[in-house]
Symmetry: C2
Subunit: 331 residues, 2 copies
Amino acid sequence: MAKSARKNDEIRFIVHGDEAILQPLIAKRRELTDIVEIRHAPDVVSMDAKPSRVVRNGKTTSMWATLQTVEAGDAPVAVSCGNTGALMAIAMLRLRKAPGVDRPAIAVLWPSPRAGSHKVVLDVGADIRAEADNLLQYAIMGAEYARIGLGIDMPRVGILNVGTEEHKGRPSLQDANKLLEAAAQGDGFTHVGFVEGGDLASDTVDVIVTDGFTGNVALKTAEGTASLIRGFLKEAMMHTIFSRIGALFALTSLRRLQKRVDPRRVNGGVFLGLNGAVVKSHGGADATGVSAAIKLAFTMAKGGFSETLAQRIASHATKHEDAPKTQGDTA
Amino acid sequence: MAKSARKNDEIRFIVHGDEAILQPLIAKRRELTDIVEIRHAPDVVSMDAKPSRVVRNGKTTSMWATLQTVEAGDAPVAVSCGNTGALMAIAMLRLRKAPGVDRPAIAVLWPSPRAGSHKVVLDVGADIRAEADNLLQYAIMGAEYARIGLGIDMPRVGILNVGTEEHKGRPSLQDANKLLEAAAQGDGFTHVGFVEGGDLASDTVDVIVTDGFTGNVALKTAEGTASLIRGFLKEAMMHTIFSRIGALFALTSLRRLQKRVDPRRVNGGVFLGLNGAVVKSHGGADATGVSAAIKLAFTMAKGGFSETLAQRIASHATKHEDAPKTQGDTA
């Protein structure tokens, strides 16, 4: 928070948790005292708590209180590092699905090859299933997120599959491919068809839609691969005296590299499709990670993300009410 | 081939393809002339050919001829860099499923953190679906592959899921978890329960089973991530004069690193569950990649892989014949 406050003087916080613990922590940071309000919540949601249990018994937790604050309109966006399943479950209950949304999704920003660029990938774990209709909504929501979060005017949207040919993959993906093709232009995105796992790291697409099972596995696989390579690299660098000298010289490069692949910097998973924005930071996030999540939350609140998204979904629904399966504008 | 021949003097090849092209290529390499037999095949299977078409019209292709050679017993194992779908389709037709196997799978070797160690991941794309029974057979086949290919006596087998808790994921995965728990010791592996995408890069498991859709996406995501990081690293290294000097010194480290993460070195995907072994190398594989695939094929042939695997499957079936609720027919 202190990190975010130093970088951004428009930001204000409402912090939920045990006041006796939070009060002295905040008091220590002079830059925070004026911009932070503490709201006491006696309990916390543990990382291994079952979402269904939390929904029944979690009313005194800081997570619950945080989402109630957003529900009440006291804050436009919530940031949490806690249990993802519980956060989603409480968010569904308190904020409820936005009108017209069948299934909310968790979206993440994924690094792309071009310097500093990212893409949006969703769903990475809100729901393990996704039918063709859901994938279409993910496309509309993901495109809106790319527009506000990444500043891409007409995002290129692709469907994750095991091959790029039209006959590949599950029947629901082939249906989704047709739905996206029909919706694309009118709903503010370009449809690029099927993409593969390798395209998560390519420059050919800005938004990748998939079911929450596949997305979750892909996200964790990529993170695991990155940390595996970091480990190999460190080991390789320490191997000989020459490479140790090399490592010394290469230090700046490695720091620059770390900045690019550091999962903490692309940390903010975002819940899309609710009445209010929720940014989920990694459980293990440190100051850099939380600061990235806060920055993302601020950008979304400032851009009026939830409102714009609601309009998009409503406009898609209206267009397709009278004219099933026709294309909207051909702009 | 020349690379493999230099490293291994027990190896012999039967090469299928256009004799007019192959003859002069082989003749140029003196070390190959005595150990290579050329069998003429006028056509090739293109990389974008539909498997169903190839099965109907592909009898004159080199791929078809290669698998017929294995079927006839002239070679114990086939190596191909071609179209995976077509290779699987022809292999199913010519070699047929091994007795007791419902669904063959493609397995790959995945790098692990410990120096030089790998794990087995399957299915990475033979079939996009897998029921609980199929995952159990993947576990038995993957464990056998880890035993012969990696020399691990009692491989630890895990099921890929979106969390490690027992209540997570699809119902079919929960069923598979129970089947593997019941089968484990008797079928020569240790069951570790659910693993996540991050465990593909961890040391906690030797064999990971999943459906071919998820496995394919994970494999390509990991490859994409590795090449993304390689690109970032190169860029970072060229950024300043200091890091250029560093890069110069770090060259040996980087080469060592590349050896560890180079997908060409863990290139051989293997078709498990057929009457005969088939090793699939990447379409874009160069000499290093093909050599890795050939080495793997040789190890498997020498270890009598197909025979041992058939015994395992048969013994599992016998043990569970009286017991209800296993080995049901899916399809």
